[in-house]
Structure formats: structure tokens, C-alpha cells
Amino acid sequence: MRPRAVAVAALLAAGCALFQRESRSGSEGGAARDRAAQPERGTPPGPSGRRGPARNGARIPASPEALLGRDDVRKMQEALSSRGLLGAHRNGELDEATQGALRRFQTQQGLAATGMPDRETLRHLGVPVEEAYGPEPGGKG
């Protein structure tokens, strides 16, 4: 009985050590790996902010218009139109009318009515979030 208990304890300890090393590598080595794997892309944007600096593979744009591609905005506009929140307005631009429609939709859904196309709003509208927010704008995520 005792050898078996010792063996079980040893196994548990080994498991814990493995788990700890795994999580540590996730924090340190993982971070380094992630950074190394993603080459520095692009130059810092000027005041227009169309193209943001990229670290860890994420785009850092200055405006929601630069974050989402026209295709994503168009999909969002179609989803808003189909719910009767936006008229015939599918130009792919995140304009005042679209933001107003987004605010109305967000209020209906109990979301914070910022008028910005955040992830949760896109999810509720059925627009693929991973594509819209991915490394490339315009659904190439």
C-alpha cells in the first residue's frame, strides 16, 4: 500500500512540475516566441493612422475605420439593415448613420451604446469577429 501511495505522490508531483513549467514557458518563453514569430510590420502611421504598429501580430490602428475593412463594415451595415435599423446604406463606410444604427442596436441588445463596432456587437450581428479584428483588415484575418 505504501509504495503505491509513494508512486502516486511522485506522479502527482511530476505532473505539477510539468504544468508549472508549461505555464511559465507560456508567460516567458511563450511571450518571446510570439514576438519572435511575428516580424515587425509596417511603419508608424502619421496622423491618419491607417496602418498601425504591429506587435504580437496585432494591428494597432487609431480609428475604428482603420481597424475594420470595408467588407466588414458592409457586412455590418447589411446586418443592421436587415434588422430595420439602417436604411439603404451600404457604402462600407463607418459614417454617422451607421454609428447611430449601431447605438440603437447596442441599446436593444443591452450592450454599451458606444456606436463603435466592438467584438460583442459584431458577434450579436453575426459578423465574423476573428476576420474583422484579425491581422489583416477586410476579412483576411
Binding site: G30, Q38, R55, A58, I60, T114
Partner: protein, 381 residues
């Protein structure tokens, strides 16, 4: 066989009893733990109406939370009131070994009273240290924090008039804040907000960031539109003798920080402003009023003339290097800079004696001849 069945039934029965006991005990335990945590807040007094833990959707909810700051005399001053806070863990992500949270705040009201002495500074912390601190955290991702119908009230208790700045109807979200790059899924942390400044200023802010970059890396924009100057008249009068009678201001700002360097611009647009009197140094007074001395984000190389667009240049290696306070600090300072830029030269200095059209034109067209002057009224004969 019968013995084995009996043991199995006993184990299952015990588990059911334990589970039921946990469910029954969860609510009082949550109440007790909440009370214990709140009682430990230094210099604060807290109360709440109810606490609820839901096992089904792994969430915790607290209602009617009030936190008062207690002064030396033992008197409480409102600091935070929240109608409802709900925090939950995503069960499906938990099954995959990821801790993913969402927080929903309904009608939070924060009252900030400015009474700190000038020159008081917090201990500086480098951006690298912030990143390391985030990476030391438990691997987790905050999927979403949302604020609905929030309010932030800022009171300058250093002035006898106690001017107040009020941000109401705050709707805000913060999404995808991860403590590990792998959890961020190669997507940025995004902050979006909308609010009303005083009674008329429509505020919008948007920013994205990579909180795990070695230096603080973010970009964003903010605007205040249609802010009636009369709304901030008390604020202006308390710090300057500038008396605003009418007019409105729009302030637009866009900024980006990469490798510790911040750049961008602030554009103030003033509409039909009328002021009665003024004294020099409106800008510094406003900066001292609203700009936090500890948050030295703007270290402008060029502080000379105010152009249509005021450039923002500086470093973000300063004392505050966390994403949200830094971005909020930049937006706040951009507002001050915009206000300062918009109001600079108002009212224009008065010429000691009437100037001819040619002299007035020369002065207007030649920056080295000083700013245009208003003309003294001609005496009636």
C-alpha cells in the same frame, strides 16, 4: 455485487449532499467574503444591497454597492456607487483550460475630488515593468468590460468655487485584455467610449493597444463636440479671470505611441466665442487645473505658436504607463490643450491707441509684429 452497488450509491449520495450544501452555502459565503474584502479597503467605508453567485453561468453579481471615502473626522464622502456589477467566467473557455472573464457595470458613479498638493508624484514605473507585471499574472483574458449609463464627477476642492466637471451617460467598453500573447489571439486591446461632458459636449474616444509590448504601444483618437463654453464658465473663472459669455468649442485629437514615443495632434475649433476679460496664462492655469502633474505625457518640443493643429510630441516612459490611465490621460490633456489653443488670444489685447487699417493688416500678416489687437472705441465728440 450488492456491496459495490451500495458503495456507489453512497458515493453518489454523498456527492449530491455536498453539492447541495455548496449551493445552499454559496450565497451566504459570497456575502460574507464580499463583506470581508470590502471591510479591508483602506480609508473607505463600503456597503451593498445584495450579492448573488450563479453556479449555472459561473457569475458573481453585486447590487447597490456604495463606497465612501472616510476623512480624518470620520465623515464619509461618496467615491463609488454602482447599481450593479456582474462578473462572469466563460464556461466553455474554462473547459479548454483558459480563464476568460467578462464584467458588466451598470450605472457606476465615480466622484473624484482633487485635493492633492502640487508636485506630488507617484513612483515611476517603466513600461517594461508593467509588461512583466502583466505577464506574472495568472494566465487570463478579460474578454470584455462594459460600462452602461456611467458617470464621472470631478470636483476641484482646491478652489473656493469648487468647480465641477461631469461626464455623464458614459457608455464604454474595454475588450481583449490578455495577460499572455497567446491568449490575445493576435488581436489588439480595444477601448471605446462615448459620453456627455457637462450638458453639451459630446465625447467620443477610441483606442487600440498592445499591453504586452515591451514599450507601451497604442493608438487612438478622441473628440469633444459642441461643448458650450458657458458649461465650463465656473471652471474657467475659478482659475483665470476669463469670463465666457457664449460660444462653443470642438476638440479633436489623434495620437499614437510606439517605442515610447508619442506623436499626433490636437485640433480645437472655436465657434462664436465671446469673453469679457482675460489675463495671460490661461493655458498654464488650465493645465494646472485639469492636467495631472504626475502624468507628464506632453513634453512638447515646440510650445510656441498655436497652429490650427497643435502637434503632440513626447514620451510615454513617464510615471503612468498602463494602457487605460495613459490613454485617458492623453485624452484629458488633449482636451486641455485644445481648450487652451482655442481660447488663446481671446479676448485679443487692446491697442493703446487706434491703429489704422494698414497697421492692423501689417500686424495680422506678420507674426513677428505680435498678435492682432482690438481697437479702442473712438470717443464721442
Amino acid at each position: 455485487m450488492k456491496r459495490a452497488l451500495e458503495i456507489s450509491a453512497l458515493v453518489v449520495g454523498s456527492l449530491v449532499v455536498v453539492l447541495a450544501a455548496m449551493l445552499v452555502a454559496a450565497q451566504p459565503l459570497a456575502r460574507w467574503e464580499t463583506r470581508r474584502v470590502l471591510s479591508r479597503l483602506d480609508g473607505m467605508r463600503a456597503s451593498f444591497e445584495s450579492v448573488q453567485v450563479r453556479v449555472a453561468d459561473l457569475s458573481y453579481e453585486i447590487r447597490g454597492l456604495h463606497i465612501d471615502k472616510v476623512d480624518e473626522a470620520g465623515k464619509g464622502h461618496p467615491f463609488l456607487e454602482v447599481q450593479r456589477v456582474r462578473a462572469g467566467v466563460y464556461g466553455h473557455e474554462l473547459l479548454g483550460g483558459h480563464l476568460v472573464l467578462a464584467v458588466d457595470l451598470v450605472e457606476p458613479r465615480v466622484t473624484l475630488v482633487e485635493s492633492t498638493r502640487k508636485g506630488e508624484r507617484r513612483t515611476p514605473e517603466s513600461a517594461g515593468e508593467t509588461t512583466r507585471r502583466i505577464e506574472r499574472m495568472t494566465p487570463l483574458r478579460i474578454d470584455r468590460v462594459q460600462v452602461r449609463r456611467g458617470e464621472v464627477v470631478w470636483v476641484d476642492a482646491r478652489e473656493p468655487e469648487k468647480p465641477v466637471l461631469r461626464l455623464s451617460a458614459v457608455e464604454a467598453t474595454l475588450e481583449n485584455f490578455a495577460s499572455r500573447p497567446s491568449l490575445a489571439r493576435k488581436q489588439p486591446t480595444v477601448l471605446a467610449a462615448r459620453a456627455l461632458l457637462q450638458r453639451t459636449g459630446r465625447v467620443e474616444a477610441f483606442a487600440t493597444a498592445d499591453p504586452l509590448a515591451k514599450t507601451l504601444t497604442f493608438a487612438g483618437q478622441g473628440s469633444v463636440r459642441g461643448l458650450a463654453l458657458a458649461d465650463i464658465a465656473t471652471l474657467l473663472e475659478s482659475k483665470t479671470d476669463l469670463r465666457v459669455t457664449q460660444g462653443a468649442i470642438d476638440v479633436f485629437a489623434r495620437f499614437q505611441a510606439q517605442d515610447g514615443t508619442l506623436n499626433g495632434g490636437v485640433r480645437p475649433v472655436l465657434h462664436g466665442a465671446k469673453v469679457k476679460a482675460g489675463k495671460p496664462g490661461v493655458g498654464p492655469a488650465l493645465k494646472a487645473l485639469i492636467g495631472d502633474a504626475a502624468l507628464s505625457i506632453f513634453k512638447d518640443k515646440d510650445t510656441g505658436t498655436i497652429a490650427t493643429t497643435i502637434p503632440i510630441e513626447g514620451t510615454v516612459e513617464g510615471p503612468e504607463t498602463q494602457f487605460v490611465p495613459t490613454v485617458l490621460g492623453i485624452l484629458r490633456n488633449a482636451f486641455v490643450r485644445g481648450l487652451e489653443g482655442g481660447l488663446s488670444g481671446l479676448p485679443p489685447p487692446k491697442a493703446p491707441k487706434p491703429e489704422g487699417i494698414l497697421e492692423q493688416s501689417r500686424r495680422a500678416l506678420s507674426p513677428d509684429r505680435g498678435e492682432p489687437r482690438s481697437q479702442p472705441a473712438e470717443r464721442k465728440r
